[in-house]
């Protein structure tokens, strides 16, 4: 009643016909022809209901296998045809991937922070990582915090050197240095402590390529017990190594600032441009960091007993560092708001 060979033939002819199918409809027709209700497999299944148990046991699994095989082949064929169809339609679509933000005039594909912000953040992070708090203070300052308390009395010649913008009450001024934070910082904190204070400073000075009436400094201070000159140098060397990513040759030489004693100028060795020949550079020293051991009068003004504590302080010109780092030739760009300048430092 059941001829196993017949099933082989069915399989072979299905395979042959499937090969010839080129469209989805043909595949579906073929599917219904073989495993549809009136297809040979369904017919055989129906007949199997009335067959002997032995037949059921032998033929049943063969039929089921064949049916599953056909279903699987049909699905595979459908997948192949579908993929071919999708690929065909994809091939006909052409996407202009070159039409991007960057080529559009009306796009904002670039933006960025001010270069001074970049350097300021870098320095803040370096100091923060070494345990220095980051403080801020007022631009409009009184004479006391900017001068008096820093051991710069009214008749001191140092006041001439820091050309000061004064307000009409003759008591208030625009801070000439970030050192005004020294007193404020000391009063706010209990030793031991260390902090830096970056910010804008003001000098009544004609502007040119290297002079600005508004520029940026970073003040730093450490107060504790038994602080040495070597501790100051340690932090400065570490700072410079972090900024320039290499050990910098430095020298410490005497420098006079009323709020430190002893006071130093810290110079770094660099390749100076030769003023006569711009392409040439020669080795020289760049004055970078005035610093020193905090004057006992300044400590006392900050409410700290100079017999118990001492410390160091330093100041750094941020703009000069920005100029050295990026090779900027004119300090007046910084406050120009000119996007042609700022775009060169874009974050993306």
């Amino acid at each position: 009643m059941f001829d196993i060979n017949q099933f082989h033939q069915i399989e072979e002819s299905f395979n042959a016909e499937l090969q010839n199918c080129a469209t989805m409809a043909q595949v579906l027709d073929l599917k219904s022809k073989y495993i549809g209700k009136t297809g040979p497999l369904s017919v055989a299944m129906k007949q199997l209901k009335d067959a002997t148990i032995e037949h059921k046991r032998t033929v049943g699994p063969i039929l089921n296998n064949l049916r599953e095989k056909i279903e699987l082949l049909v699905q595979q064929k459908i997948n192949v045809l579908e993929l071919a169809t999708i690929n065909q339609s994809l091939a006909s679509e052409k996407f202009d991937w070159t039409m991007r933000e960057t080529v559009l005039e009306k796009s904002f594909s670039t933006a960025g922070l001010h270069p001074t912000t970049l350097i300021q953040r870098e320095l803040e992070d370096i100091f923060l990582s070494m345990g220095f708090d980051v403080l801020d203070g007022p631009h409009i300052e009184d004479e006391y915090h900017n001068f008096e308390a820093l051991n710069i009395p009214a008749d001191h010649p140092a006041r001439d050197m820091q050309d000061t913008f004064w307000f009409n009450d003759k008591k208030h001024l625009l801070r000439t240095h970030t050192s005004n934070i020294q007193i404020r910082g000391m009063k706010q904190k209990k030793p031991p402590f260390r902090f830096v204070a970056p910010g804008k400073v003001f000098r009544c000075e004609r502007t040119d390529a290297t002079h600005e009436m508004v520029f940026h400094q970073l003040e730093g201070m450490m107060v504790g017990k038994n602080i040495s000159i070597g501790h100051l140098v340690y932090f400065m060397k570490t700072l410079l190594k972090e900024i320039f990513k290499k050990d910098m040759e430095i020298r410490l030489r005497p420098g006079h600032f009323p709020f430190v004693e002893p006071g130093f100028e810290l110079d770094i060795r660099w390749k100076k441009p030769n003023p006569a020949k711009s392409s040439e550079r020669y080795s020289g020293w760049l004055e970078l960091l005035p610093c020193g051991m905090i004057h006992p009068k300044v400590l006392a003004a900050g409410g700290i007993d100079p017999k118990e504590f001492n410390g160091f302080a330093f100041g750094l010109g941020l703009d000069r560092l920005v100029m050295v780092k990026y090779g900027i030739d004119d300090v007046r760009h910084f406050h120009s708001g000119d996007l042609r300048f700022l775009k060169q430092f874009a974050s993306y």
Binding site: K106, F167, H231, V233, R251, G337
Partner: protein, 815 residues
Amino acid sequence: MIISLDWIKEFVTLPVDKDIHDFANALTMATAEVEEVHEANKILEKIIAVKIISFKSHPNAEKLRLVTFSDGVKQFEVVCGAPNVRVDLIVPYAPLGVTLPNGMKLEAKEIRGIWSQGMLCSATELGLGVDSSGLLELPVNTLIGTNLAQVYGHHGAQELLVIDNKSLTHRPDLWGMYGFAREFAAIYHTHLKPIVPFNWAAKIAENSNLPVLNVRVASSSQCTFFSLIQLSGWHNAPTPDWIKSRLESVGVRSLNLAVDITNYVMFELGIPLHAYDRSKVKGSIVVQALEQGVDFKTLDGVVRTLAPGDVLISDEQKPLVLAGIMGGEDCIVTESTQELLLEAAIWNAQDVRKTSTRLGLRSESSARFEKTLDPKSAQIAFSRALELFFKFCPKLQISAKPFLFADEKKLPARLVKLHLSYLYTVLGMQVSHEKIKNILYSLEFKISSELPDCWILEVPSFRAQKDITIEEDIIEELARMIGYDSLPISSPLTEILPLHLSKDKSFLRKSQDFFVYNAQAFEVMTYPLIGKDLLHKSAWVDDAQDLVLVNALSEEADRMRPSLIPSLLQTVAKNCKNITHFRLFEFGRIYSSVKNDFAKEAHHLALAFVSKWEHQLNSLYSTVETYFKFLHLPVMFHTQLGQKMKLPASLVSPAWTGLHPSETLYLESMGNIVGFVTTVHPYILRNFKLKSNVHIAVIDCSYLMPRGFENKTKFNPISLQPDSYFDCCIEVKKETYVQEIIELLWNVVQQDKLKEITKIKVLDDYFSGSHQQRFVTFRLTFESAQETITSERLKILENIVLDSLGKAGFFLRKS
């Protein structure tokens, strides 16, 4: 300040194995910054003065001549192109083998067929000046055959160091050669030749009837030391070359012997002295501060108006000397002077500084007196000058009783303690007692008592005025001589504590990043100073309370900015010339005067979206809305300010006409108006010649900064039920704000407690029929975490929504 090494070497022996660059470096590292090094012009020794005997035209070149000259022994011939060649002219000759300062080496060479033996030189070619127009013409009395180093004396052949005066402000002792000689002696551990006081008392004429100099030093003069001596029998003689050349090397012109001597002593010992022509001084002399102003002709021929308080030395008829600054023209010593008065005095530094600053008259003398000079040094300088006067004029006599005034109360010896343990702490290392003592002695400190840890030092008078007053000053002396570079470098031992950026700083940084990465804007910085013109241009109401500077550099920057807006508009206008489409922001301070404080500084943010083509207000508004979400702070936008809400004047004056009448939104956060977003009024834009769309936002960060970034996010379980949506398309008027409808719907949700409605958004905004009709499609999201919403419930919800819309006059689009 110029230092002559030749002069220095009179007092100290410098190491022979070191050159001028070593000396410059040593001074820079231990004492004061050397700005320039002038090496000796050694070439001059090889250049010979010759006399031109004859010349003729070069046979092969029109402009060249063959010049025959003599060095007194031999005759030479060279080819020369200089126009000023003439017979008997004495000129410098560079023989073969010499290398000129410009690097040119003279070799025998053929010029147009004639062999030339060396070269006749111009001043430039010898490094003696800038004149290159012709041969350097030497004086007619120049001895032929001598080298130019002899002809020019030391000038040009001297080794000089130029010191940065700023590094000498606290060191009056370094305003003379001797002070630097002392530094060199300390640096190189060599002997410093002492200045032996000249016994001038022996020169006082033996006559018991000597006249008395009638001098009165008033206390108003604040003079602490005044000595005056009368010298008779003076006759001018040529100043010796060595004095002349040394003065020239430090930039001082020789005038006459008496003046040259006082100048010489000033540059040697740092103390200004003054010589008067005795015959011009009438009657008694008084030293006092002026009570009323007077005109005074200083020796430079300028009439200056003196003010009360200026200290003056006068005789009975007229002012003689403006104390510490400059003498008068009337009593200057000339070549015919026969009787002199020599004065040494110590003036109050502040008085000198005040007067010289006011008059704009800075002299070598005032530069020194400003530093507070030492009376003892003045005595030494006085005796040194007398030594030179008597040396060059042995017949000189002291013809009156010398006048000496010294305020002894102001001359106490200064004692300073030095704790060795503190010294070692600051140095970071121990130093032998011997080394410490050697340094102190070489700088002329004395040790007056010596306990194990505490030494009491006597400061030499020339350092004791203002320079060295405390222990730290002594430590500086020791440290700089030990050498800062030899101190050990180490990290301090200190407690480690966690550390964060302050709230303000983090706020600033995160905000800057937001505007760069989210708003795609550039950060700008503008001047915190501003001028009236820009304020007017921006229609900013001029406030009488403005923080105005008294000494502004220009009218464009003479006051503190009351707002970021004017400079923002200016920056926008500047950039519009180059770019048509940009965004920028500034975090800056604005300044205002307040009642109890002189000034208040507030942190503001200003943001500008600028485009020639597009209206970007909504884009700016969305950015600001997102910014507040980013800050985790609530914000509401108002088109009108209600009764309760006031626009803070610090943000923008209510009278500012820059706000657009319909395109302005006020930001409310935590009960305050903290900012606004607006399209700048075209009328203001006109002032800036701006034709673009300019939208700005200003936010007062002072409310926001202290809040920090508090993220209060709490997790909500994710609904297991699928969301369902209800889309409804409603016809609205063109000028309707969608926000009105959204708010209306949310009100319904609240009133009817329709808690399943979780989102109300606009799906589409559509204009049809050439913009006569507008249709807005809203999508309402229904969700419930607990249970599936039944279709009956959905229907109910939808009907409530449509009903309430209908009641408000919004109907579904008729299909």
